[in-house]
């Protein structure tokens, strides 16, 4: 058991610091990414969640703060992930639908917060959040398939964001759903699985930021390597 706890701690530490990868890369390529809304969004998300994860123990001191922490975690995670696909999806109708679904989800979360008894985590909002984000991801992929561009899918930074989030949600979906009905020991034993999915997600987000930085407009291509062409 102690061994398992140690492994879990290692994963937890790795996870905490992998949250710093996207903001650090964003900072490194800030000149190129200054205008990229999704770059700013992912960097802000990662930085926010780095602090949330880092100070989890000091924030969750009592039952109420724990409840507030987990629900806020779910809410902000939904907000940031939805933001990414809101900017990536082009269909206006779908964007409107995302907005309506988000409003409904937020209302549900508020009601859930005040009405439902909290046990370990907010399984139901997490489940709904996961399903909604999965739907957005599927639509994003569908849109990519519908309008294929000249370049490979992996040259699109959003592909990396979507795949990372997809792996994270798939890897943590069942454990989050079953967290309130499983034994405490089992939860402890298997919780590190969510850390692995989370670490993979952070790495994919970082790759996405790198791909985003590599993408440059056509005119940039001509601007570089220019010989002396000024007037004097």
């Amino acid at each position: 058991m102690v061994k398992i706890q140690n492994i879990e701690n290692h994963f937890y530490n790795i996870l905490t610091y992998t949250y710093l990868l996207p903001p650090l890369l964003f900072l490194l390529f800030r000149n190129k990414l200054r205008q990229e809304k999704n770059g700013i969004l992912i960097a802000t998300y990662s930085l926010t969640f780095f602090f949330l994860v880092l100070f989890e123990d000091s924030i969750t001191t009592n039952s109420f703060s724990k409840r507030l922490y987990y629900q806020s975690f779910t809410f902000f995670e939904y907000l940031f992930f939805t933001g990414v696909f809101w900017f990536a999806i082009k269909n206006l109708r779908v964007r409107k639908a995302i907005l309506i679904l988000s409003l409904l989800f937020s209302t549900f979360q508020i009601i859930y917060f005040f009405t439902e008894k909290f046990k370990r985590i907010d399984s139901i909002p997490i489940g709904i959040e996961s399903i909604l984000i999965l739907i957005y991801i599927f639509y994003f992929f569908f849109e990519q398939l519908k309008e294929p561009k000249g370049k490979h899918l992996w040259e699109n930074y959003c592909f990396w964001f979507a795949t990372g989030i997809l792996i994270y949600l798939s890897g943590s979906f069942f454990i989050n759903i079953l967290a309130n009905v499983m034994e405490k020991d089992d939860i402890r034993r298997y919780w590190f699985l969510t850390y692995i999915a989370d670490i993979i997600k952070n790495i994919f987000l970082a790759i996405g930021v790198l791909v985003m930085a590599k993408q440059s407009p056509n005119d940039e291509k001509l601007k570089k390597n220019l010989p002396y062409l000024d007037m004097n």
Binding site: L145, L166, F174, M182, L222, L226, P227
Partner: protein, 272 residues
Amino acid sequence: MFLIQASTTTALFLGTIGMLVLTIGLVVFIIMHQRRVQRFQQKLQQMEIEQQKMMLNASIKMQEEERQRLAADLHDDAGPLLATARLYLNENLVNQDKVNQLQSIFQARQIIDDTIQLIRNISHDLMPPTLKNFGLESAINDLFQKISGSGTVNASQRFHDYKDRLKPEKELLVFRIVQELINNILKHSNSSFIHLTQNVHADKFYLRIHHDGRGIIQSDFEKLNKSNIGLGLKNIGSRIRLLQGEILFEKDISQTYYKVTIEVPKDEPYSS
């Protein structure tokens, strides 16, 4: 109790593994499908490009051949004919009185001289002899001297490195692009100066035109290129495509000049 617990754990594992397999499967399927579609599209695009290139090449070649033929006809036939007409006129006026004779001769000569000059101009416009004989630098120099000669616009040019000339067909295309750009500047920009700079870097040949009038930026160029207006810009676009080059319209950082930069692959050196 134990059974329930075991089934929960099994559900957790099976569910998670199932979800992950589905996820990875979905991503792999999307990548594979996209690659297949892309390969098909690439093939289609390649064929389209080839066809367009062939058509464009044929049309430009035909145009240039026609222009050269016209130039030769005007220069070799019309010129000498008019000159001979002038001689005949001189002969037939011998029997008139002196004052009228002199006046008619003077006027006839004047008109014929103008006609010869006009034909020469047309001929030069169709196929600039300087370009053919002395290359792009001299042709652009000639063009700019003519513009400066008008007195309204100060046109200057500087070739930094043009030891290795472009191939004649490339020079002609570049010259036509410059001509079109200069025409547009003179027609629409209301600028007081035009400056052209040339340089090379690695295997690329660069030209940049600066002017201080009203201009366009890349987004305007792309918009006009797609619209029904702006035939001249479309010609520039198709010539650039034919040269496999790039063109960039932008405003100077100082916001006082507009710049047009042309990048053309150099190929192997061509000696004149």
